[in-house]
Assembly symmetry: C2
């Protein structure tokens, strides 16, 4: 009887384990905020590199989530990837460089933000080159394919660095 009981109990423990594991399998993978934080810093740096190699319109379209919103200084919000591409395509001659200095993510590892500083070079109304400095915040959302895209981006001017 003892042997039967143990064997029976073993079967039940296996069933409980199986049910527990099924529950684990249906849950999303455990979030890892540290690696997500590193991932959005890397995404922001890759984004900045693409702006150098392909220009701002291509870079801002590539890294935009489908429903991204940008809040450009001096203009109204621009919503959606293609509208964002068109907005930057209209800013001919604009060269943007930037670098994040901070990142933080939610416990679930699906939403985070980077803060950084930028430098913009463009042509002034008088035809002369103009360099401006500023800071920005980019909010990132993990996409269904595991990549990170921004959902919000905005910045504003800072005094020129000393």
């Amino acid at each position: 009887m003892k042997r039967e009981l143990v064997r029976g109990a073993g079967g039940i423990i296996s069933l409980a384990s199986a049910l527990f594991c099924l529950q684990c399998a249906s849950a999303p993978p455990a979030p890892d905020p540290q690696s997500a934080r590193a991932a959005i810093l890397r995404a922001d740096e890759d984004f900045a590199r693409l702006a150098q190699s392909k220009g701002v319109a291509e870079a801002f379209a590539t890294y935009a989530a489908e429903d991204a919103t940008i809040l450009p200084a001096g203009a109204n919000p621009v919503e959606g990837r293609e509208a964002i591409r068109a907005f930057f395509a209209g800013a001919s001659g604009l060269v943007l460089t930037w670098k994040p200095f901070f990142a933080q993510v939610a416990a679930s590892g699906d939403l985070g933000y980077t803060l950084g500083t930028y430098e913009s070079r463009s042509t002034g109304d008088d035809g002369k080159p103009v360099t401006r400095h500023g800071k920005y915040c980019t909010i990132w959302k993990k996409q269904p394919d595991g990549s990170w895209k921004y959902i919000v981006d905005l910045g504003n001017p800072s005094p020129a660095p000393k």
Copy 2:
């Protein structure tokens, strides 16, 4: 023997349930992104009301997380609740009104952001009143006491509404 087996199995199932429940008890409460989204919209509206009744310095200090950063247009980032209070205390005569138009939160319900529009009234260098319009992004973090405080706040000018 059957009766013994069932009784034995019942004890094991109870133990498994108890262990499972202990695990549940030690986990944080299930996140609820919908109620978190409503909570940050409400926090942003309460924040705006406090700015009307107590002024911007008191409101921005009250709603700042201890390690909050603001990115003011035309100035360098300001970090920490007391530095933020001092920054706005130096902007005497500034009246800010705002209203969020969008909010989103992470799946974990601990981090989210609001987007909104603001109007600022201040006194120009010529002594005359100046009204400016803009938009903003505020990033909110749930605090250990369950309240929501902002950790990042920034905005920039928009054209005057038509």
